[in-house]
Amino acid sequence: MTSDGTTREPGTKFYLMVWGALLLIVALEVFLTYQGLSHGALLAWLLVLAVVEAAIALGYFMHMRFERRLLFWSTIPYLLMCFLILNHIWRDAARVITMPVQSP
């Protein structure tokens, strides 16, 4: 930890490993797409893998891992709250899809 509360960053070799890990996750996503999974299962897997990718990119490429914790707590919980609230739309989607179509 440096004197301003941040952590020293790793070097090129480490970033190459992070880059490789992200490419592997993308390859896994494509692999899973063609495994005949159900729609819901595929969506769940892709979302989980995308969040893992995003966390790696956010932490290491964007250096949040090496910044003060205050930055994380000032930005990420707000975003997660937004996305949590947006989940209220799914009930309406289920209602819309079962609405009878009226003839003209």
Binding site: D4, G5, T6, T12, Y15, L16, W19, L22, L23, V26, E29, V30, T33, Y34, L42, L43, L46, L47, L49, A50, E53, A54, A57, L58, F61, M62, H63, E67, R68, L70, L71, S74, T75, Y78, L79, C82, F83, L86, N87, I89, W90, D92, A93, A94, V96, I97
Partner: protein
């Protein structure tokens, strides 16, 4: 005795206090912009999810070749551009201005390649009859509306990012900007990459044939 900067100009109390985030104001503002933009992309992806969940006959037209393969290449290009941007930031930290400009040049080239591949795909889809309000399979037109809106918004971020990278690279090379500017611009570019990590699986892979 009162500090003249504070009493005469007002609002300069921040000059007397260190930032609680341990970073410059411009970098903090970039983080705040990224947070807001992430909420925007999140909302547009949720909107796409709603349209898809509410449509009983949502098309899944993307074949592995060429669409998913093209998407894979685009993902590789964008991820590599983030890596080269990291090299540019590291070079700027060593005050290696020619090196920084070179790495940013490579980043710009990779970003331009991404944009080219994307636009090529768009024009191929237009030729097949897809559009903002057109679906050649006869299904819901919301597919085109959501696909082109989401990828279009991302492409707009890519193109504006390329412009910003070019300007910052030139000015840094001429000695008019600091390494902090490179890092701040790099943050934006990594964010563009981060958004693609959600767009590719949710918009491309979930619509794979």
């Amino acid at each position: 005795m009162a500090h003249p900067q504070v009493t005469m100009h007002g609002g300069h109390a921040a000059a007397l206090e260190p930032s609680p985030f341990g970073m410059s104001s411009k970098k903090l503002v970039m983080w705040l912009f990224i947070t807001a933009d992430a909420a925007t992309f999140g909302a547009i992806l949720f909107g796409y999810g709603f349209l898809r969940a509410a449509a009983p006959d949502w098309p899944r037209p993307f074949e592995f070749s060429p669409t998913i393969l093209n998407g894979l290449v685009m993902t590789f290009v964008l991820l590599t551009s983030s890596l080269t941007m990291l090299q540019a930031v590291a070079a700027s930290g060593r005050d290696d201005r020619p090196g920084t400009a070179r790495w940013m040049g490579v980043t710009i080239l990779l970003g331009a390649l991404f944009a080219f591949l994307h636009l090529r795909e768009w024009f191929k889809m237009f030729a097949e009859g897809w559009g903002l309000h057109a679906n050649p399979t006869g299904g819901p037109v919301d597919f085109g509306a959501s696909f082109f809106s989401i990828t279009g918004l991302h492409l707009l971020h890519v193109i504006s990012g390329l412009v910003a990278l070019a300007v910052v690279a030139i000015l840094f090379r001429r000695g008019r900007l600091t390494p902090n500017h490179i890092e701040t611009t790099g943050l934006y570019w990594h964010f563009v990459d981060l958004v693609w990590m959600f767009v590719f699986p949710l918009v491309y892979l979930m619509n794979a044939h």
